[in-house]
């Protein structure tokens, strides 16, 4: 496969064109917004917890962004449903990158992990889990 075909491989295009968990969740248990001012990407993440108050029952996202950021966030919602907040908060970003499965330049890496970083921020706000390690290296991202 050429580099080109790798970057926009079918699974990425599928998640980009048919994003999972896309939309605004009313009455979310936790939410956060992330922005990448370099490219104007914006994502809001909404989390609903299960009855135990820790298991992630549902995750949704809204916002705008490039194919990589949208597809990566879509994949992320599938990856974290049913997992515990503490576990997701400690999930290394490599786990998501492996799922994405394509080589990313440093600029595109920021696109790819915007959703994950924002999710962790939501978990931090909702459950007090630690902020993602290496948040400092994401100084270009604006998180609110």
């Amino acid at each position: 496969m050429s580099e080109f075909d790798q970057l926009y491989r079918e699974v990425i295009l599928d998640h980009y064109k048919n994003p999972r968990g896309h939309g605004v969740m009313e009455n979310a248990d936790a939410e956060a917004e992330g922005q990448n001012p370099l490219c104007g990407d914006e994502v809001s993440i909404y989390v609903a917890f299960g009855e135990d108050g820790d298991t992630i029952d549902d995750v949704m996202f809204s916002g705008r962004g490039c194919a990589i950021s949208q597809a990566a966030t879509s994949m992320l919602t599938e990856m974290v449903k049913g997992r515990r907040a503490s576990e997701v908060a400690a999930m290394p970003k490599e786990e998501l990158l492996e799922e994405i499965g394509i080589p990313l330049t440093p600029v595109r890496l920021k696109c790819a992990i915007l959703g994950l970083t924002t999710l962790r921020l939501a978990l931090h706000k909702g459950k007090g889990t630690p902020l993602p390690e290496g948040l400092a290296e994401l100084e270009d991202l604006e998180l609110t």
Partner: protein, 414 residues
């Protein structure tokens, strides 16, 4: 009426001066359509700078020895070339800075801090690059002055008729605008803006970063009080730029940076500043870079600024014509006769980053982003745009490749 004609520019021939085009990108010839962000460098500039470092380099205005004299000659020779390039009255009005951004900050700080206060107004335009927007916003805030913005119309042109409304009966002290918009390519009516500013007793500050590489600037007829531009966008090296200012204003202003070279005498009690332009050139300057800018000016003058402007105008016209063939592309900005060789656009439903990425694999380099113009992006209702920008080495075939690349973008991601 006498008609002056300029020999047409041969972009295919000029390309041979630019070594960057000798390498393939992703196996394809490079179509560099991002000259508004920075231009490529001709061999003439690269060779001259190497030669300067190898034979004539030392610090300037210091030593009495041969090398220092040669370096000073090279540096001051470049200043004279800039003076002639701008048709400035004197080299004392030509200050070397790092780039347009530093020149604009110099004016905002050195002039603004001493001249703005409560009841005063600084006006910028909705087309400004952050570098001519944020300095005035921030200095206005520090001094208690008001900060206002002149809006644009739907074609990306300044709504000059609103100037009086924007100003109201406030005490307008400064009007800041770019001569050419880096986002839309709009050529702004600076002469009219300056006349209005002067009528209100304000100074006119012009960001010429996107103009100086592409069209002739005559500071004696432009009407501006300050003009800033960067070497790196006009075939010169990074690290050098120019602030031209009216001598009487520069004389009255406090220095921006303190340090070596800008001093006449220092005592514990007080310090006397050096004469212009050195008052504003603290520390060792970008010597070889200023020299390189001088060589770049030689290069541009040999090609002819008028020929460059005409060439880019034709390219803009061609690009707009070709992009109009693509129903999924939205183009922003004014008609070709009022823009330089720059086209901003979006592909329906496709994020600019993805557009630029797909084009990169076709060997076509364009910019995707907000172009440091977030207020303008807000006005256009977009987060970002794609921007293709042209220069003297751009050929129509590259625009054809852009159009073909956009068809591929639509096919893959649309």
């Amino acid at each position: 009426m006498a008609v002056t004609t300029h020999p047409k520019l041969d972009a295919h021939r000029l390309r041979a001066d630019f070594p960057v085009f000798e390498q393939p990108i992703h196996g394809k010839p490079l179509a560099f359509l991002d000259s508004a962000v920075t231009s490529q460098k001709p061999r003439q500039v690269l060779d001259a700078m190497r030669e300067f470092y190898a034979t004539s380099y030392s610090n300037v205005h210091r030593g009495v020895y041969t090398l220092s004299e040669r370096a000073t000659e090279g540096y001051e020779g470049a200043r004279e070339k800039v003076r002639a390039f701008l048709n400035a009255a004197s080299t004392r009005e030509v200050i070397f800075v790092r780039q347009a951004t530093e020149g604009l900050n110099l004016v905002a700080y050195a002039w603004g801090l001493d001249n703005l206060g409560p009841g005063d107004v600084a006006i910028v335009t909705e087309l400004e690059h952050h570098s001519n927007f944020v300095p005035w916003q921030q200095i206005a805030r520090r001094t208690g002055a008001d900060f206002r913005m002149l809006p644009i119309d739907d074609r990306g042109e300044l709504r000059m008729e609103l100037l009086d409304d924007v100003a109201g009966d406030a005490n307008v002290k400064v009007v800041a605008a770019n001569l050419v918009s880096n986002s839309l390519g709009t050529i702004n009516p600076i002469e009219r803006l300056a006349a209005w500013a002067h009528e209100r007793g304000a100074i006119m500050v012009v960001d010429a970063a996107q103009a100086a590489p592409h069209k002739r600037i005559d500071v004696q007829t432009l009407g501006a009080d300050f003009v800033a531009f960067s070497s790196h966008k006009m075939c010169g090296p990074t690290g050098a730029g120019v602030l031209w200012g009216r001598r009487e204003l520069l004389e009255e202003m406090s220095p921006f940076n303190y340090g070596g070279s800008m001093i006449r005498s220092v005592r514990v009690e007080d310090t006397q500043w050096n004469e212009l332009p050195y008052k504003f050139e603290a520390g060792t300057p970008a010597i070889a870079e200023a020299y390189g800018l001088g060589i770049a000016i030689d290069y541009l003058e040999a090609v002819g600024l008028e020929a460059i402007e005409q060439h880019e105008h034709e390219l803009a016209e061609y690009a707009l014509e070709r992009l109009a063939e693509l129903p999924f592309v939205t183009v922003y900005g004014p008609p070709p006769e009022r823009r330089v060789g720059l086209v901003s656009f979006n592909v329906d439903g496709v994020h600019p980053h993805d557009v630029a990425q797909v084009l990169d694999w076709e060997g076509v380099a364009i910019r995707a982003g907000h172009h440091c113009c977030q207020p303008l992006m807000t006005r256009l209702g977009v987060a970002a745009t794609n921007r293709a920008s042209f220069y003297l080495y751009t050929v129509p075939e590259e625009i054809d490749r852009l159009v073909e690349g956009l068809r591929k973008v639509k096919e893959v991601l649309g």
